[in-house]
Every structure is written in structure tokens, then in C-alpha cells.
């Protein structure tokens, strides 16, 4: 029947394809809102810098969105192709949640994306803005449903088991399961941090090269302003999420902390260490006394769950989650430093000349992605050995497909995604490096009165357009 190797390959394939996929939605969810804000500001103030930024980030958005869509289709079929036992067991709950995501989010995004990207001269300003807002709303709704589904797998609620399969009983309890509000907030803040770090890194990169037409300064300030709100809030939400995990998934928490023994006198917080699953200890651990109790129980000697409390076969792999968690938190701290320093420099009017800070902002560009993936690794590896926590083990959830089939498909996906990712990244960098067009063609409906330069917009648009086309076909 199913041998170990086939299931390991299926797990690797799922981890690989979902990690690749999430990078793109994480970028586009935040960017869509950013673009909608830019368009709104432009319509309100008619300052062209907002329009310039709006068109610039729409180009990056379009590319990331396309890769997100195609890699997402793979995900929506993979539950059936590779995890048929899981699908059969839990499909009556995760299936409807996914269907709601398609109905309320995917169609909304895809239905208005065409107008948002290609419809500037096909519809009026209000309709265009409404389309952009619809796309942005769609991305957020999508996050709502997929996190409801994932959270249900982490902390199942509102169900009964009938004939060895899950039977939904209370849909409110299913959607708003115990970990959902925390995970949703945590992810929502994360995607805004991810996209705003991308925006601030790009802006800083251009400022360092003295390439600024006002747009890059504006986007840097906007991105840092958003980060100043998002990143400290994320620390608070993350802490609350941790307490929620302590309550509902104590084994995950013990593995994250690398705690093996009970500390009746107060639990230390391990800053560093190498957890050893066989020897049931964390080697070279460097702990701060009492801090674990203080953070997790808000008391001096509060008890924190330890790994040995759980049978060996029920323990998640501490070696992975111990470090993935610390990478996430460490980068999160750096993000707060970035946002606060940026705000301080901005108040003193030194932001765009602070070379060191701008370099720091560029270096932090990928930090959001690394942190996001590290966080998800913590959450998903920490759920093991369960696919549906406490109900179905991952080892029993796979499809009856052979090692050869999964091996082949894994090989194909790795090759394909490397190519797609490579070129996608190449063109994304190209877009970001080129920067915004100095004066992108305004939509035809933009009234002449709004342009103090006195240039007739229709004429301007068509002139710029024909010159651009010359470039394209050169």
C-alpha cells in the first residue's frame, strides 16, 4: 500500500508548492490595497505622483497576480490528487470553505482585474476605482476563507464524526474556530508588512541612486507609515496568537520553546539551543530564567507545557519549529526598528539623505517573505503529526498513488517552478529597477482643467502612447 517514501514525497511536494504559492498572494493582497489607496488619493487630490505610483505598482501587481493564480490552481487540485484520504475525511468542511473562497473572492478578483489593468480608457473614473477596490476586497476575502479552512485544521470545532468522516454541525463554530481570529489578524498584518517592505525597499533603492521624481519619496513615506502601524501591532497580535496556541495546541508550543522538562520554579525562555528529539533535550540552550513563564502565563512561576508530557508519536519536530519561530520573531523585531527609525528620520526631515537607513530598508526587502515563510513553517510543522489536529494523522491522509508518480510530479513541479520563479523574479526586478514612468499617459477622461501644465490630455496621452509603442516594437 502506501509506503513511507511516497508520503514523504507528497509532503515535500505540498510544502514546496504551497510555499512557492503563498509568496505571490502575500505580495498582491497588500499591494492591491496600496494601489486602491493610491488611486483614491489621485482621484481626490489630482496630484500626479499618486497616479504615477498607482500605474507603477499595478505592473508589479499584475505579474505577481498571474503567478499567484496559476500556482493557486495547482493547490486547489492537490488536495484531491495527493491527499485523497484527507479530502474524503474532511471534504465536507474544507470543501465548502474553499467553494466560498472561489465564489466570493476568486471571481471578484478575476472579474475586475481586467478593468483594473486594461480598462483605464474603457470605463470612467468611478467605475475604474470601483474595479480596483473590488480586486483589493477580493484578495482580503480570499484570505478570510483560506485561513478559516487552515485554522479549522489546526483547531477543529463545530463537527461530529460519523462513519469515520467529519460531519459539519455548526458552521459559525467551524468558520470562527478558536484559532481563526488570531491567525487571520496575524496573517493580515503579515501580508501588509510583506508588501510594504517591498515598496519601501524599492523606493529606497531608487533614492540611493538619486532617481526620484517625487514618487519614490512619497512611496517610501507611505510604506514606512504603514509599517509603523502594522509592525508593533503584529507583535501584540503575535503574542495573543501564542497564548491561543498554548491553550489549544500545547505540543506545538512546547516544541517552539524547546522545553522538555517541567520547571516548577518558573520556566525559562530559551533564546538559543539545538533541540534533540532522540535525547529529549535541548543542547547548548541559553535561557533567561522565568521569562518563559512571564511571557506565556504572565506570572513569575507559571507552568508551561513540556515535550515529555506528550507521547513520542504525538510530538512535532522541535528542531524545525524552534528555529523557524526565532527567525520569524527576530525579523519582526528588525521590522519594528526599521519603521521606528524611519519615522524618527522623517520627523527630522532627513529621511531621503540617510544613506545608512536607506541601505537598511533595501536589505529588509526580502525580510517580510522570509519571516512569513518561517511563521507558516512554525504553524504547519508544529501541527504535525496531525493533518487535522487530533483527528487525522498526516501519515494516514495521502492518496493511494505510487512513489513513482509522486516522485515524477515532484520533479516536474520543482523544475517548472524554478523556471517560472526564476523568470517571474527576473521580470519583477526589471519592473522594480526601471521604476515608474516619468509621466505615464493619463486616462482619456482626465479633464484638462486638472492639469495645470495646460497640455491637452487627449493629445498628450496619444503622443506618449505612440512613442511608447515605438519602444515596444523596436
Amino acid at each position: 500500500m502506501i509506503d513511507i517514501a511516497a508520503i514523504e514525497l507528497a509532503r515535500i511536494q505540498f510544502a514546496f508548492t504551497v510555499s512557492f504559492h503563498i509568496i505571490f498572494p502575500a505580495t498582491t493582497i497588500g499591494l492591491a490595497t496600496f494601489i486602491a489607496v493610491l488611486e483614491g488619493l489621485w482621484l481626490k487630490t489630482r496630484r500626479e505622483v499618486y497616479y504615477t505610483l498607482c500605474r507603477f505598482w499595478s505592473r508589479a501587481f499584475a505579474l505577481c497576480f498571474a503567478i499567484g493564480v496559476v500556482s493557486g490552481i495547482v493547490m486547489s487540485y492537490q488536495f484531491g490528487t495527493n491527499w485523497s484520504v484527507f479530502s474524503n475525511f474532511a471534504g465536507s468542511i474544507t470543501g465548502p470553505l474553499l467553494t466560498y473562497e472561489v465564489l466570493t473572492a476568486f471571481f471578484l478578483e478575476a472579474g475586475f482585474l481586467g478593468i483594473m489593468l486594461f480598462g483605464w480608457n474603457k470605463v470612467g473614473p468611478r467605475a475604474h476605482f470601483a474595479a480596483t477596490v473590488a480586486v483589493a476586497t477580493g484578495t482580503l476575502i480570499s484570505m478570510f476563507w483560506i485561513l478559516a479552512s487552515n485554522s479549522w485544521m489546526q483547531t477543529p470545532a463545530g463537527y461530529r464524526i460519523v462513519d469515520g468522516r467529519v460531519m459539519p454541525v455548526d458552521w459559525m463554530a467551524i468558520v470562527f474556530n478558536p484559532s481563526f481570529p488570531y491567525r487571520f489578524m496575524h496573517m493580515a498584518l503579515a501580508v501588509f508588512a510583506v508588501s510594504m517592505l517591498l515598496v519601501s525597499a524599492t523606493s529606497a533603492w531608487h533614492l540611493l541612486r538619486n532617481r526620484d521624481n517625487g514618487a519614490m519619496r512619497t512611496s517610501l513615506v507611505m510604506a514606512l507609515g504603514c509599517l509603523l502601524v502594522v509592525t508593533p501591532l503584529q507583535a501584540l497580535v503575535g503574542d495573543a496568537h501564542g497564548l491561543n496556541t498554548l491553550k489549544y495546541q500545547p505540543a506545538k508550543l512546547a516544541a517552539i520553546e524547546g522545553l522538555w522538562d517541567v520547571h516548577p520554579e518558573g520556566t525559562p525562555l530559551n533564546l538559543f539551543g539545538l533541540p534533540d528529539m532522540e535525547a529529549e533535550t535541548t543542547r547548548y540552550s541559553l535561557g533567561i530564567p522565568h521569562l518563559g513563564s512571564l511571557i506565556l502565563t504572565h506570572s513569575w512561576t507559571g507552568a508551561v507545557p513540556n515535550m515529555k508530557r506528550f507521547p513520542k508519536q504525538d510530538r512535532p519536530d522541535s528542531r524545525i519549529v524552534f528555529w523557524s519561530f526565532r527567525i520569524m520573531v527576530g525579523l519582526g523585531m528588525l521590522m519594528i526598528v526599521l519603521a521606528v527609525t524611519g519615522a524618527w528620520l522623517h520627523r527630522r526631515g532627513r529621511l531621503q539623505r540617510a544613506i545608512g537607513f536607506l541601505r537598511f530598508a533595501v536589505a529588509m526587502g526580502p525580510a517580510g517573505y522570509v519571516s512569513l515563510l518561517a511563521g507558516w513553517i512554525t504553524s504547519e510543522v508544529g501541527r504535525q503529526p496531525w493533518v487535522v489536529y487530533g483527528l487525522l494523522r498526516t501519515s494516514q491522509a495521502a492518496s493511494p498513488v505510487t512513489r513513482q508518480q509522486v516522485g515524477l510530479s515532484l520533479l516536474i513541479f520543482v523544475t517548472l517552478y524554478t523556471l517560472v520563479f526564476g523568470t517571474g523574479l527576473f521580470y519583477l526586478f526589471k519592473i522594480l529597477r526601471t521604476g515608474p514612468e516619468p509621466a505615464p499617459a493619463l486616462p482619456l477622461w482626465n479633464d484638462a482643467a486638472a492639469r495645470p501644465s495646460g497640455r491637452h490630455p487627449l493629445q498628450g496621452a496619444s503622443l506618449e502612447h505612440s512613442s511608447r509603442q515605438g519602444d515596444n516594437h523596436a
Partner: protein
């Protein structure tokens, strides 16, 4: 008492039909790409679907998700039975989806993206067809799990249905491009149409003979007492094909596409008649495969409330981008 399982089977059948109608033409454009080597023509062809292809592919995700929700056993057993064709179909969809975005941005590597678009579209279509053929031939299910071999799905019949679906989608693509282009490019589309019509007719004929010959259950359905009701189906197919050839002669722009849709609807009707009432031929009926009532109800509320809205704004988007697409049209990069 409402028969929720039947309603859901109809919803999924409708979703699949809409998928074929919408994504069929944009996959088909990738297939007929091969006949139009000029860069400018190719960009026009791609631009005709650039604003809508995302939405078209979403119907495929709805099909998958709907099955997952309403008939989890079909989703799990059929998808694991069709493992390799589905993986290859997904590979094709990834290739062509990325090609959409990158072709216009590339310069030196443009031939590579043209190739990715053509191969991707052809692969996605062909393996969808293989899946369809394997599905018609039946899937071994024991105890709610696929119980066959991973290569059962590759048979002479399923490879043939793969080729047949390529002809189908190519024809849809060609018909769509007749509507959306003009001048020289449109004339060449008109010239391509009759050949594709004959290819599709031949494929339908072969599948209509092959299926009952290899599947006795389907043979008894078609040639049993129901024959008196079913004989108009093949006649209607011939009438549609004749109408397409005539429309091409008179230069009617919309009729070839609409009649192709009618052809497909007839073929689809034949398919549904053949497998009814099974959701996994030969042995799992739609009632046996249905999810718990609570899942069917909860999801049905969403479908009834939201699907009309989706159809409305999808229609709006097509309306916004109505009319001919010409070279150097702005706004597609």
C-alpha cells in the same frame, strides 16, 4: 423534499459547461497560435483574452472546489485516479498563464514564451481530454478510494479524446478570434474554420461509435428503448456543422462561434446522457457520492446568492472589452 444532491450535480454540470465555453476559447487561441507566426498577429490574439482569461480559469477552480464540497469522494477518488494527466494539465496551465504576463514584456526570449503559450495551452487541453476519456471509461473505486493503477487512465480511447478536445477548443478559439479581429487576420481565421469543423466532426463521430462499443452500459442506454428520443442529437450535430460552413462562406462573424457552442452543448448533452446517474462511472451514483446535507445546504446558499452576481459582473467585464482588437491598441502592456 428537495433533492440537494441532484441540484448540486446540476450546478457542477453547469459550471463545467461554462468553463468549457469560456476557457475553451482562450486555450484554443493557444492552439491556433501555431498557425499564425507573425508577432503582431500573435499579440492581437493574446490581447483579445488578456482582460478575461483569469476569470475564465476561475470556473475550473469552482468545478474542483464544488466537487470537493458537494461530492468529496468524487474529488478525492477521481483526482487521485487521474493523477498524472491532472499534474500535466496543471503544468500546461502554469506555462500558458505565465506566458500571458511575460510575452509582452520580453524581447529576446519572446519565441520561448510563444512556445510556452502554445505548448502550455495544448498540454492543458490534451490532458483535460485524456482525463475526460478515462472518466468515461470508468474509474475503479473500492471503499471510497481509487483502487486501480495510476496508468489506467492512459488508453487509446483517452488519448483520442485528448486529441478530440484539442480540435474542440481550437475551433472555439478560431470562432472567438473571428469575432474579435478584422482584416487580413480575420480572413485567415475564416479560412481555418472549415478544416477545424471537419476535424471536430470526425472526432465526435469516432467517439460516438467507440464509446458504446467499449462500454456496454452506455450502448444499452443509447440503443435501447430511448433511441426514439435520442436520434435527433446526431442530426442536430450535422445541422450545426453545416451552419458553420455556410456562415464561413457568407462571412458571418458571430455565427461560427455560436454554432460551435451549440455543437459542444450537444456533445456535452450526449456525455451526460451516457454517464447518468453516475458521478464516477461505472458504479458510484450522485446520491451515493453526496456530502452530508449540512455541507450541501451551506454551500448552496452561497451559490444561489452569489452565482447570479458573478455572472452579471463577468458579463459586464466582457461588455467593457467588447469590439475588435487591433494591432497597436493601447493599454495591454
Amino acid at each position: 423534499m428537495l433533492d440537494l444532491a441532484l441540484i448540486w450535480a446540476l450546478i457542477i454540470a453547469l459550471g463545467v459547461l461554462i468553463y468549457v465555453i469560456l476557457d475553451g476559447f482562450d486555450l484554443g487561441i493557444g492552439i491556433v497560435f501555431a498557425f499564425f507566426p507573425h508577432d503582431e498577429d500573435r499579440q492581437v490574439m493574446m490581447n483579445t483574452v488578456a482582460p478575461v482569461w483569469d476569470g475564465n480559469e476561475t470556473w475550473m477552480v469552482l468545478g474542483g472546489a464544488g466537487l470537493f464540497a458537494a461530492f468529496p469522494v468524487v474529488y478525492s477518488a477521481v483526482l487521485s485516479a487521474l493523477y498524472l494527466p491532472l499534474v500535466l494539465m496543471l503544468v500546461g496551465l502554469v506555462l500558458r498563464g505565465v506566458a500571458f504576463e511575460i510575452r509582452g514584456k520580453s524581447q529576446r526570449t519572446r519565441p520561448v514564451w510563444d512556445l510556452a503559450f502554445m505548448t502550455g495551452s495544448a498540454m492543458a487541453t490534451f490532458f483535460q481530454g485524456v482525463g475526460l476519456g478515462a472518466f468515461i471509461q470508468g474509474i475503479a473505486v473500492v471503499n471510497r478510494e481509487f483502487a486501480g493503477n495510476g496508468f489506467d487512465c492512459f488508453t487509446a480511447f483517452s488519448l483520442f479524446t485528448g486529441a478530440g478536445l484539442m480540435a474542440t477548443y481550437a475551433m472555439l478559439g478560431c470562432g472567438w478570434l473571428i469575432i474579435k479581429t478584422d482584416g487580413q487576420l480575420q480572413r485567415r481565421m475564416f479560412r481555418l474554420m472549415p478544416a477545424l469543423t471537419i476535424a471536430l466532426l470526425a472526432a465526435m463521430a469516432v467517439i460516438s461509435v467507440w464509446t458504446p462499443l467499449s462500454q456496454p452500459a452506455i450502448a444499452s442506454r443509447w440503443f435501447g428503448p430511448a433511441l426514439s428520443m435520442l436520434w435527433p442529437v446526431p442530426l442536430a450535430v450535422l445541422a450545426c456543422a453545416r451552419g458553420i460552413l455556410q456562415a464561413v462562406k457568407t462571412g458571418n462573424e458571430t455565427r461560427p462561434y455560436l454554432l460551435t457552442l451549440a455543437l459542444i452543448a450537444l456533445g456535452y448533452l450526449g456525455f451526460l446522457i451516457s454517464i447518468w446517474p453516475n458521478l464516477i462511472p461505472p458504479g458510484v451514483s450522485l446520491w451515493a457520492a453526496a456530502a452530508p446535507e449540512s455541507s450541501l445546504k451551506f454551500t448552496l446558499i452561497g451559490v444561489v446568492a452569489i452565482l447570479p452576481v458573478i455572472l452579471f459582473y463577468t458579463g459586464y467585464s466582457y461588455w467593457v472589452f467588447r469590439g475588435k482588437v487591433r494591432p497597436h491598441d493601447e493599454g495591454y502592456h
